[in-house]
């Protein structure tokens, strides 16, 4: 691929200077995209793939909620319903939320934030995208080959006995696992080896800390999922007797294997979103992040504790009482670093200058939703209450608050925050905020009633239900429609901006981390020279420039001699 940046100009890093060429237009044709080694283009392809999967999974959700408007059959029979909730869960988990922030946004932003030209292994990066595509194709094949009705958890012995496309879907999961491992490995090596001069570990933006912690989980936990999937394939194909009690196997063993991956995977979903929120809250409040080290350490702590709590999915599975008690105790440990982050974000807003941009609105929605998601986790970690709540709509509500409400709202915040950087276009903030309000209201209307459904006795994965639950189900379905429409509005607003949006300045929000120091969209090689990194949260290092309609480094504003790095230390 041709190098397009004129590296002879030493000032080419400066945002004032708009270059004609950027990574989007430096070459064209489908091959220049499909075989690109540019992390930004790979990230864009991920983003498109994730978005399509999101709307497919969302369509399933809307159909499910429509069926649940009444205890009677409205749209589909129980077989179709069971396949649809399985595919909704599997697609949203494996194709949307797990790769959403790390693979799509992380790929685009991580190297730019590091002031690097690319990730450490660009070819492996492209490979991880092809694996994602390949895995997604297996999922689509599974739908075509008679669906999948096991639930996304594939619990044995049901998954061994059902005659749906379990093997096809599991091979898809296996391949997606490799995609996830490749991304994680790439990020770890990139962060270790490619930080620019001046960027010590504790001068690294918190989004990178979050991606680093995420990557650790990805490479340590995902292999277990791969092995579990293969064991299940072998069990189905050859009836070995690993999980099937009829052959001397143990179905609970499968649950241990499965959750050993899938619980840490929850943190693969939420940690990057937390990283995004740390950036968004600081930048749009124009404040230095509060308690930087506590937030950084809490990411690592969450990643570590996340490995020790998988048994809390199995309090009523027949595992021993002692094991249940130990897992309950450890589970509470995860709540502490999560709480620390929330308090830190709030304190960051204190005495700030808060702009209610769309990204910030999603950031605030995240704090609201994540607080509910996190706090309701306490009911499930507590043994006596979990026995009643396990496998009910309370759990459905809780994990949607964490996985959809927090991880996806985090993704939405990230997309809006970095959209000008990625596309070089500003979107319409008013439409963005309206969509955000719709997502927020729709989401809460969908899932809050489900807490009540759960405590009152509505089990999850039910195609029909007792009449007394209908009112709450109707509320929930109305929320789902609002949520679906708002998501479509969000997508429409963003897509419209690509064609009609104003040209974006290099630094529209006033961020101080390195990705705002190159032009929007970045040139093919991001930076001609490794930029000098300072404290990424000193918002005073950039000032608003009326002419450009964006922020510029202080030293570019004429007589002010202060430099980015010199103003870096403002520890009180």
């Amino acid at each position: 691929m041709a190098t397009v940046v004129d590296s002879s100009d030493p000032k080419s890093n400066f945002p004032i200077q708009y270059r004609e060429l950027n990574y989007l237009n430096c070459s064209s044709g489908w091959k220049s995209w499909f075989f690109t080694l540019d992390h930004k283009r790979i990230g864009i392809m991920y983003l498109i793939g994730v978005t399509c999967s999101f709307f497919l999974g969302g369509l399933f959700a809307v159909l499910l909620r429509t069926e649940l408007l009444s205890p009677k059959q409205l749209l589909m029979g129980p077989d179709t319903y069971n396949q649809m909730f399985t595919l909704h869960g599997a697609i949203m988990t494996f194709l949307v939320i797990i790769p959403g922030v790390p693979a799509a946004i992380g790929n685009i932003i991580l190297p730019v934030m590091l002031g690097a030209k690319d990730v450490a292994f660009p070819r492996m990066n492209l490979g991880s995208f092809f694996l994602w595509l390949f895995g997604a194709a297996f999922f689509l094949a599974a739908i075509a080959l008679g669906g999948l009705d096991t639930g996304w958890t594939f619990y044995t012995p049901y998954s061994v006995t059902t005659n749906t496309a379990v093997i096809t879907a599991l091979l898809g999961v296996f391949i997606l696992g490799f995609s996830s491992i490749f991304t994680g490995l790439n990020f770890i090596v990139t962060i270790h080896t490619m930080r620019p001069p001046g960027m010590t570990w504790f001068k690294m933006p918190l989004f990178l800390w979050a991606l680093y912690a995420t990557a650790l989980i990805q490479i340590l936990a995902t292999p277990v999922l791969g092995i579990t999937g293969l064991l299940l394939v072998v069990e189905r194909a050859f009836h070995i007797g690993i999980f099937d009690p009829a052959l001397g196997g143990d179905p609970v063993l499968f649950q241990h294997f499965f959750w050993f991956y899938s619980h840490p995977a929850v943190y693969v979903m939420i940690l990057p979103a937390m990283g995004v929120v740390s950036e968004v809250i600081a930048v749009h409040s124009r404040k230095h992040i509060f308690g930087y080290r506590f937030i950084a350490y809490s990411s690592i702590a969450i990643a570590m504790f996340g490995f020790l709590v998988w048994g809390h999915h199995m309090f009523v599975s027949g595992q021993s009482r002692v094991v249940a008690v130990i897992f309950s105790a450890i589970t509470f440990s995860v709540s502490i670093p999560s709480a620390i982050k929330v308090f830190n974000w709030l304190t960051t807003m204190y005495k700030g200058s808060i702009r209610f941009t769309t990204a910030m609105c999603y950031g605030l929605a995240f704090i609201f939703i994540f607080s509910i998601g996190g706090l309701t986790g306490l009911f499930l970690a507590t043994l006596a209450t979990d026995v009643h709540l396990h496998d009910t709509y309370f759990v459905v509500a809780h994990f949607h608050y964490v996985m959809m409400g927090s991880s996806l709202v985090g993704l939405f915040a990230a997309v809006h925050h970095w959209w000008p950087k990625i596309t070089g276009k500003m979107f319409n903030e008013n439409w963005g905020r309206i969509a955000c309000l719709g997502v927020f209201l729709g989401f809460n209307l969908t899932f809050f009633p489900q807490f009540l459904l759960g405590t009152r006795g509505m089990p999850r994965r039910y195609y029909t239900y007792l009449d007394q639950f209908q009112g709450l189900h109707v509320m929930s379905s109305c929320g789902a429609y609002l949520l679906g429409l708002s998501s479509a509005l969000m997508a429409a607003t963003l897509i419209y901006s690509i064609y009609r949006g104003k040209k974006a300045p290099a630094n529209p929000w006033g961020g101080a981390s390195l990705e705002w120091m190159c032009s929007s969209p970045p040139p093919h090689n991001n930076f001609d020279h490794p930029p000098l990194a300072g404290d990424p949260y000193v918002m005073e290092s950039v000032v608003y420039n009326e002419e450009i309609g964006g922020y510029v480094p202080v030293e570019c504003q004429g007589d002010n001699k202060q430099t980015v790095t010199a103003s870096g230390d403002n520890e009180a």
Binding site: D79, V316, G318, R321, S328, S371, A381, T382, Q470, A572
Partner: protein
Amino acid sequence: MKLFIPNMLANADAGFWFPEQSSTVAEHSDSVYFFILYVCTFFFVLIVSLMVLFMVKYRHRPGVEATKTSTHNLTLELSWSVIPTLLTIVMFWVGFTGYIDMRTPPSDSYEINVIAKKWVWAFQYPNGWIESELHIPKDENVTLTMSSDDVIHSLWVPAFRTKMDVVPGRYTQEWFKATRAGEFPLMCAEYCGQKHSMMVTKVVVHETRGDFDKWLQQASDIHKNKTPVEAGEYFYKTRGCVQCHSLDGVPKNGPSFKGLFGKEEKLADGSTVKVDANYLRESILEPQAQVVLGFKPIMPTFKGQLTDQDISALIAFIKAQK
């Protein structure tokens, strides 16, 4: 919103959060729930009010920049780490003590065996009688010893606040002491396939042990005052046949019973069989032996759960469906 509120509160048997407490462990479970709820509500209100306060007070005004404040404060950060830690230790402890009670069946329990299968419950009483509804006496410890014939199920009585998975290949136990007479929903909470959501039955709590014993005696006497067809109909309705075999000629998961007796049926292996008493008996005891073409081999066996007399009654009932 207003539309739904009357509906939400219409169920007189239920409180706002939970069905009315009907077992001895329910009170503890609920009080732990409300303790956590109050703590969480406090923190949630604190977080959201601070957020809203900051949103209003520190919203961007033209010409006003953010005020530089301290970027960390060890005392503050330690306090918001340590206080939640202490609170979670309390939560763990109260949850732990309640759980140990729930998971320790008392030694003086009345024991009932449970067999779960797709998609029906079979409760076997000490005298051997099997029923698809659970009947228990009030104020007496009842222990369920549960196993599954096929996949994992989970027995849940929301009014009792107890739940336990029923796992094939092992026995699990669940116990409760009902504190209110009446009927309560009992359901399967672990996804088990097509009719998972229809695996719902009820617990009937009898006022006294005498009432319960009288019920059990009458129930297990099913053949006494009934013709074989009536008794067969009873088994048809209570043992799960009704889930898959209709009486109106429309096939469900299995062939309809209407006009079935005496019919020539094509089998999955290509041969044919005449549906007579021998074939029906075999299909009840060894359902997979000769599966009719066009149906999945999913019927569970009833071996050991129906006596010869019960099977004869069922055959008489099927024969009567002309």
